[in-house]
């Protein structure tokens, strides 16, 4: 038995790094301090170690040769897509971007079909934010905008916004509800949401219009409370859920938190799912200048935010997709539009989760079989640990695919 302390969990974007993991040979025997989501994410560490073509188990060399050949053919037409799914270390993501650059392919990540509106809003306006420890140290008033972190980010409050000594305000937007035990609650319909945001911004600017009634009057009171706080945080769920948010919400929240920095201090915190999704945004940005939807076909990166992977696939604009990462983490719009016969999946448990028609090559999982770096939802980089021996790392697998495609050229 061996015990690992201060292990980083990638079960959600909180990336709690206080986990203790006990390993027995090639299995995870025990996980301490993790939430239910984290415990599930660690599992027992077992993973497939195989390769498959069209449902047939093959030797890895055969899979590489076939994948390389197909990739060469499609990249020659400029219609290949490298798709960054989750559960990949920063080094694996770096290798994937290098592959797309070398092939003149397109590259995209889960961000374009999940959080693109937030990214684009921040590109128009900027944003006011803080790292999670800063929230824990400073915040005296937190607003939960249509989200209860307990649902999908179970340890967020415990680790980054413990209840003691601060006030919580829940803003329920339609069925999207804030924490049940909030000190104050604003209930607005989806149609009233942007109006409430505008009223709060007006309060922050000291320019509240007269004659507000109903939910707008309540929003004005909350706006005044925010303005009087020492440091407020606005928490929202950046990821899509069962209820689609107003497409203008992200920009409205940015405007509110920026505006609050004149009378007081304020930060916006968007909750994100796990598996180092933030890392994909970061690596794409430092290597291409854009956080998603990049096309290398012209010889240099071009930004095409209006053409996310789901749209390209649905339009039949892609001949071959190389999924790098956990197939399970593909957004429905991407998974549903893939042609399995024109798909290569390189990732953890690929031979188990990918459609049988695809070429699937198993790799390790970031933070369980592969060490390296992952980014927390607030852009803080953390080390992840290889707890268990596993198959080929994703980084090496992607480089091997690149070599196979290059040799085939």
């Amino acid at each position: 038995m061996s015990r690992f302390e201060s292990v980083t969990c990638l079960g959600c974007g909180c990336s709690c790094d206080d986990i203790a993991v006990t390993v027995d040979g090639t299995r995870i025997a025990n996980v301490e301090r993790s939430c239910t989501l984290g415990t599930k994410w660690f599992g027992d560490g077992s993973t497939a170690q195989s390769a498959r073509i069209g449902g047939r188990v093959v030797e890895p060399e055969v899979a590489w040769a076939e994948a390389g050949s197909r990739l060469r053919t499609s990249s020659a037409s400029g219609r290949a897509l490298v798709y960054l799914a989750a559960e990949v270390t920063t080094d694996g993501q770096r290798a994937a971007v290098a592959l797309a650059d070398r092939l003149g392919a397109r590259i995209d990540s889960v961000s374009s079909d999940t959080i693109a509106r937030g990214i684009l809003a921040a590109q128009r306006r900027g944003r006011s934010s803080a790292t999670l420890g800063e929230l824990r140290d400073r915040v005296d008033l937190a607003v939960f905008w249509g989200v209860d972190p307990a649902d999908r980010y179970p340890r967020f409050l415990e680790r980054y916004l413990p209840r003691a000594g601060r006030q919580f305000i829940a803003v329920d937007v339609g069925e999207a509800r804030g924490p049940a035990d909030a000190d104050q609650r604003l209930i607005v319909s989806a149609a009233e949401e942007l109006g409430a945001l505008a009223v709060m911004r007006a309060a922050a600017a000291g320019r509240l219009p007269p004659g507000l009634e109903g939910p707008m009057a309540a929003a004005a009171e909350i706006g005044k409370r925010l303005t009087a706080a020492r440091y407020c945080a606005v928490i929202h769920d950046a990821e899509p859920g069962a209820i689609a948010p107003n497409p203008e919400r992200a920009e409205g929240l940015i405007g509110l938190t920026q505006g609050l920095n004149t009378p007081t201090r304020a930060a916006l915190c968007g909750l994100r799912a796990g598996g180092n999704r933030m890392g994909a945004d970061q690596v794409l940005t430092w290597q291409t200048g854009f956080p998603m939807t990049v096309d290398f076909a012209g010889g240099a990166p071009r930004y095409q935010p209006a053409r996310p992977a789901s749209a390209l696939l649905a339009a039949g604009a892609i001949d071959l997709v190389v999924v790098v990462g956990d197939y399970h983490t593909l957004p429905p719009g991407v998974a549903g539009a893939l042609d399995p016969n024109r798909t290569i999946v390189i990732g953890p448990n690929a031979t188990v989760t990918a459609p049988p028609e695809a070429i699937a090559i198993d790799t390790g999982r970031a933070g369980i079989h592969e060490g390296g770096t992952a980014f927390r939802l607030d852009d803080v980089p953390l080390p992840v640990t290889a707890l268990l021996p596993g198959p080929l790392t994703i980084e090496r697998a992607v480089r091997q695919l690149q070599q196979a495609a290059t040799v085939a050229r």
């Binding site: 803080a130 420890g133 800063e134 201090r265 200048g289 803080v380």
Partner: protein
């Protein structure tokens, strides 16, 4: 064993007293040697000007803040695609990218090398995100790189200072530099960023209290300056003073210099801290006052932070300043409060010839260069990308070398705030090639304590730039004919041909291990990151070189 004789060029190597002499430079295994066998390969450098590779003492090229800039400005990247260069051997894989005010990592390496620079320091890295910076620097080819760790608003340090425990603060500095792979200590608006994060907006003077206890900007400056000097770091403390960009801030800057007089220290982007006026009086240049002080204090060095007309992006840990800039310009704005350590503010900005403040800033920077008696201690920077990008260095060099051109540009700028400016009075000084070699490589290398860089003496790294003389100095310095990095020709006939991996420059001072007990308690109580996960792995620091 590789060797090369660079034959017949005019050598400008001020560190070794050589000013345009025609002589050979001999290289073996990446270093400069005294002599080579007669049959060693030869590079014909007749007619070319030879200098050491450029050394940038203050730039912002890699890490969380730079990536925030990139993410904020897709429009700049769309306008400046950078296809992969054609390298001679295809290895490592040449990479495409984009430019703009903060280019992507690979493009940054290629473009810096294309200007003849071979060593670059990122001037502001939050220690908590050092891991990110190392990743980006590993993707920045050719250049030897390092970074300065932000410490001037670090809560652990401020607590020690507040309790009068300066020795413990020093131990912390030593531990932190080693843990993160940093090269030097950076102070940004000491105490002011902590005040901003704490709701106090900023500090105004060196003696404003910063939280409880004895902590003030002054005590932060004194403690960290002493720490860097006692630890014998190769580069002294690197200071971005309080009140950046404010009219009348020369009083703060002089007070800072006086507080540290007699101690080795480096003040950065001095141009942004060199304004008179304020309190109802119009802005004006205070460059002469600062130059006089610096000339009389050999323990001080500065880089200028020249403003160049055109697009820039202001990115700084001085987040209260960026709040004010966003409020005054209405342009998009990023603020990130970084736990326990520092902040980050970003606002795109355009310096316009016809804008009075921009013109004043431009003139102040040139005055600092031209009035200084000691170019070794007043070295070149634009605080890339804050005052202008590194792409503009050749134009800046021309402004310093060509008075006629400088005066022509001066005629076209807004004169409103230039009354009394020495530049308007007609500064006749024109920098020589040797002086350019001093402010762009020999001087920065000396201030950084890089004994193997910035010169062409025996034992130096064979980082060498060869220029074709041209009366248009901007053109001459824009397109080096050859650039060698560690003896490898990375630029040949003006074309980028190779892109080897550079080395990381860092320090690892000894420290008393007892500090880790204090840190364990502190991290447990305050940090969102486990202490065990804070240090960066040696593997990620790449091909490092401890100084």
């Amino acid at each position: 064993m590789s060797s090369l004789r660079i034959q017949g060029g005019k050598v400008h190597d001020p560190a070794n007293g050589i000013d345009g002499a025609v002589q050979d430079i001999c290289i073996r295994d990446g270093r400069i040697v005294d002599a080579l066998p007669a049959d060693a390969p030869i590079m014909d450098a007749r007619g070319l000007v030879i200098m050491a590779g450029g050394v940038d003492i203050h730039s912002h090229v890699a890490g969380g803040s730079c990536n925030q800039v990139r993410r904020l400005l897709p429009e700049e990247h769309l306008a400046d695609p950078a296809p992969a260069p054609h390298l001679v051997d295809g290895e490592p894989q040449p990479r495409s990218g984009t430019g703009g005010t903060v280019p992507t990592t690979f493009t940054t390496g290629y473009r810096y090398a294309g200007l003849g620079y071979t060593t670059v320091f990122d001037a502001a890295v939050p220690p908590i995100s050092a891991r990110h910076t190392h990743h980006e620097l590993n993707d920045t080819p050719i250049l030897d790189t390092g970074f300065y760790a932000l410490l001037g608003n670090d809560r652990f340090l401020l607590d020690q200072i507040g309790r009068g425990e300066r020795e413990k603060a020093r131990e912390y500095v030593a531990w932190l530099l080693g843990a993160t792979g940093g090269y030097a200590v950076k102070i940004v608006n000491p105490g002011g960023v902590e005040q901003w994060k704490n709701g106090g907006r900023n500090v105004a003077t060196l003696d404003d209290p910063v939280g409880p206890g004895k902590t003030t900007a002054r005590t932060i400056l004194e403690t960290l300056t002493d720490a860097a000097n006692v630890l014998k770091l190769p580069h002294p403390v690197h200071i971005h003073c309080n009140n950046l960009g404010q009219a009348g801030n020369v009083a703060t800057t002089l007070a800072t210099m006086q507080a540290l007089a007699g101690k080795r220290a480096h003040l950065t982007h001095l141009q942004f801290h060199a304004y008179g006026g304020g309190n109802g009086q119009p802005w004006c240049s205070a460059a002469p006052q600062l130059v006089e002080f610096i000339d009389g204090h050999p323990e001080l060095s500065v880089d200028v932070g020249q403003v160049m007309f055109g697009n820039a992006t202001t990115v700084t840990a001085d987040s209260p300043v960026e709040y004010l800039l966003s409020a005054s310009t209405g342009r998009k704005w990023i603020n990130v409060d970084i736990e326990l350590e520092t902040g980050c503010g970003i606002v795109p900005y355009t310096y316009k010839e016809k804008a009075a403040v921009s013109a004043l800033q431009w003139a102040v920077g040139l005055e600092l260069f031209l009035l200084s008696k000691d170019p070794w201690r007043v070295v070149l920077s634009t605080d890339h990308p804050n005052g202008g990008t590194f792409h503009s260095y050749p134009q800046l060099i021309r402004l310093l070398m060509d008075r006629t051109w400088r005066d022509d540009v001066l005629k076209g700028v807004n004169q409103k705030m230039l009354a009394g400016s020495k530049l308007l009075d007609g500064l006749s000084r024109e920098f020589s090639l040797n002086e350019i070699a001093i402010i762009t490589r020999a001087g920065p290398a000396r201030q950084l304590g890089l004994t193997n860089k910035g010169h062409l003496g025996v034992g130096a790294d064979a980082d060498i730039t060869l220029y074709s003389p041209d009366p248009d100095f901007s053109k001459m310095f824009s397109t080096p004919r050859f650039v060698l990095k560690g003896g490898i020709p990375v630029v040949e006939e003006g074309q980028l041909r190779r892109a080897p991996q550079g080395r990381r420059l860092m320090v690892a001072p000894a420290y008393d291990a007892a500090i880790k007990k204090d840190l364990a308690k502190y991290f447990e109580a305050h940090s969102s990151v486990a202490l065990a996960n804070y240090p960066v792995s040696r593997e990620l620091m790449g091909a490092g070189e401890r100084q």
